[in-house]
Subunit: 202 residues, 2 copies
């Protein structure tokens, strides 16, 4: 009795698709669907339209690999950015996170993942060749490897460093250390050891 239809298949379909979004489960997807239906003019119609626009206009930047509605993307075509520094990230989400931090007025290169032999992901599955071509084209002073501090991320960083050897470019990585606002007592030993080793003048 519990899977009787309470509404037309169109509503069930909407709930099912919403439940596939990260952060929404079956229960919150139902709540979201009902919210959308109730706020038809303020939310459902604009969101349907925004998704339609996204379907039509979003693509991958042929230079750096981020997603955007223009190619080259907003960042690659921004003349105020330092063209000499490329920050290498695993994923578009990492690029967005670094931009939110606003740390560097640079350009990016999205790898599209990390090397993972066990999962069958080799160098050709990432955009490493495109990165080497960007560097070989000249004008790049520094490559910042902003990959995750995981085994796969670090393996990928080492591989890229090897491939960049011989090219006239400085390769750097993000600093390890105590997160801002972090309490020492809750940090792992690896981070604490790195933070101590890289201690700076106060």
């Amino acid at each position: 009795m519990s899977n009787r239809a309470v509404a037309g298949p169109e509503i069930e379909k909407l709930i099912q698709l919403l439940a596939k979004l990260p952060g929404l489960g079956p229960r919150s997807a139902r709540r979201a669907a009902l919210h959308l239906i109730k706020k038809k003019d303020q939310l459902l119609i604009p969101l349907a339209r925004a998704m339609g626009v996204a379907v039509d206009s979003i693509g991958v930047c042929s230079t750096c690999g981020t997603v955007d509605t223009t190619d080259p993307c907003t960042i690659c075509s921004d003349p105020r950015r330092d063209t000499g520094t490329i920050v290498v990230v695993e994923d578009v989400a990492d690029l967005w996170a670094l931009e939110r931090a606003g740390a560097l007025n640079c350009r990016y290169h999205v790898l599209g993942g990390t090397l993972s032999p066990l999962d069958g992901i080799g160098p050709d599955d990432l955009t490493i060749t495109a990165l080497l071509e960007r560097v070989a084209a000249g004008g790049i002073r520094e490559i910042v490897l902003a990959v995750n501090a995981t085994v796969e991320g670090q393996t990928t960083a080492h591989y890229i460093t090897d491939r960049l050897r011989g090219l006239d470019v400085s390769v750097t990585r993000l600093a390890h250390g105590v997160p801002v606002g972090g309490e020492l007592d809750y940090l792992d030993e690896g981070t604490l050891a790195q933070a101590m080793k890289a201690r700076t003048q106060f």
Copy 2:
């Protein structure tokens, strides 16, 4: 620097609208947007289409007040349902919850809220008159008041009971008691007292 555009305004707009869904905040809306963009064919296009269909087809049932793509709704037009029992709920979400429980093969009436003089919500802002008309039309044996166990819900229940007086219909309410799987130690005194008062033969 932190609010520099990292992507076209179309993507920012999508993120902003997703952030208005219950259960998603600004951060998870970004994650959801990126997920949608990456899964364009499997998720973004079907969801955009489902929302377009919802915009065009969803309305309110003129009999019971639920949302559906047909009028009368799926429930009101289901011939296998008992037409003699109307379960009165505050909101469509409550109707969906009762249907998931599959407790009663009945029809419903959605009030659209509760009486709340402080918020300026009186009987005319709810669908109480429509409920009385359904009862007056005949064929209704029982009205189950499945409103929330809150002050506003109970006030509304009392008001409806008063208005139904004189009509030949039995008015019932949901049982109070220990939730299934609930531990006594964590329950409030009011619920425990009600559960004890309404104890049944084992």
